[in-house]
């Protein structure tokens, strides 16, 4: 109880407790909820297809946000440049028969090049 009060008054005073309560606990809650909600669902059911669409869209959304409002060093590049570099990486992926490596090499090379241009 004392630790919990400390966490909410000044998280930096009890860093481990703060991390467990503020960062780890929410993940545990939703992961465990997921386990119970998934019971009785079958692979191939319509409900599962809907959930899969939501999960994919959420993940794609994380990327969309990262490109639109990036943290740290990425913000040094303009928005059109970031989109351009990302489009090159995706283009390389499709051009080289869905190759992860091609996407990385082209994307990272374009990014470094963008810093010099």
């Amino acid at each position: 109880m004392e630790t919990l009060r400390l966490v909410f008054a000044d998280p930096a005073a009890a860093p481990l407790a703060a991390m467990l309560v503020l960062a780890a606990a929410p993940n545990v809650v939703f992961r465990v909820m997921g386990v119970f909600l998934s019971r009785g669902l079958n692979e191939g059911s319509e409900a599962l297809a809907f959930v899969r669409a939501m999960a994919s869209a959420l993940l794609a959304g994380v990327v969309g946000k990262l490109l639109a409002a990036p943290p740290g060093a990425l913000a040094q590049l303009s928005f059109p440049t970031r989109i351009g570099v990302f489009a090159l990486a995706v283009g390389a992926f499709f051009l080289f028969r869905r190759s992860l490596a091609a996407a990385f090499i082209v994307g990272e090379a374009a990014l470094i090049a963008a810093f010099w241009l």
Binding site: V29, L37, G44
Partner: protein
């Protein structure tokens, strides 16, 4: 109706392929496949979290521990960034909670695909902690190609290998912090967007998956400027995911392949 006959076929396959090695063979196969690439990519993105923890003055052990305990890049990022700005605990909790909601659809969609009739509740609860972007994407994609009984051991091996390597990389990022030049730091940060999108694209099997991918990418920045209170990502998931599901229903209605 669909799952039962394949389950029987898969278990007989399991007994003859895995034999005495049991699930261990698939556990190591998962661990090895993660260590061949995906684990290093998560590791690189978490190295930037380690660097951030260093910059905001948190101890190295806390940065390293955050990876196995939290196991969610965005959550760790929010936590350490907030510790730097001395944000109120309730504000941090709200942000991390909103970032954690995405695990609900991930766990719900992955578990029915990997568990077998013999998988217990505790095993599923433990496995749920390993489910984050990389493990979700890779197990969704590789799982269906494995015998049903092999999928849980594979996921455990894959997930634990990712956690172990990423923990080491978080620690490495902490010590490298500040010594990386701008372009290299940016290249590090750019790994996650490429990896997430390309993994989704490689796992896409039907029109609905592609629709969810493109709609999510495009709608997220739009939602960010129209939906406040940190709910924009959730709105993106609901709207883009809902529209993508409608694509599936529309194709089904017209008798097209999904």
């Amino acid at each position: 109706m669909n799952g039962r006959p394949s389950r029987v076929r898969a278990s007989s396959h399991y007994t003859c392929v895995m034999g005495a090695a049991g699930g261990f063979g698939y556990f190591w196969r998962g661990a090895r496949e993660a260590a061949m690439g995906p684990a290093w990519l998560v590791g690189l993105s978490l190295a930037s979290v380690g660097a951030l923890a260093h910059d905001v003055g948190m101890p190295a052990w806390l940065a390293a521990l955050s990876t196995p305990l939290v196991w969610a890049g965005p959550g760790q990022l929010i936590f350490f960034a907030s510790m730097g700005t001395k944000a109120a605990a309730l504000a941090i909790l709200t942000a991390t909670t909103l970032a954690a909601v995405r695990f609900l659809p991930m766990v719900v969609s992955l578990l029915p695909r990997v568990r077998s009739a013999r998988t217990g509740l505790w095993s599923q609860l433990l496995a749920s902690h390993l489910i984050a972007v990389t493990v979700w994407v890779e197990t969704m994609r590789r799982g269906p190609g494995l015998p049903v009984e092999a999928r849980m051991p594979f996921m455990y091996g894959f997930g634990l290998s990712c956690v172990a390597i990423a923990t080491g990389m978080t620690f490495a990022g902490y010590w490298l912090a500040g010594s990386l030049p701008g372009p290299v730091a940016a290249a590090l940060l750019f790994i996650s967007p490429i990896y997430f999108v390309v993994s989704l694209a490689r796992g896409a099997r039907e029109a609905m998956d592609w629709a969810a991918l493109w709609l999510g990418l495009i709608l997220a920045p739009v939602m960010q400027s129209f939906v406040g209170g940190g709910l924009d990502l959730l709105a993106t998931g609901a709207v883009a995911g809902g529209l993508a599901y409608l694509v599936r229903r529309w194709r089904q209605g017209r008798g097209l392949a999904p």
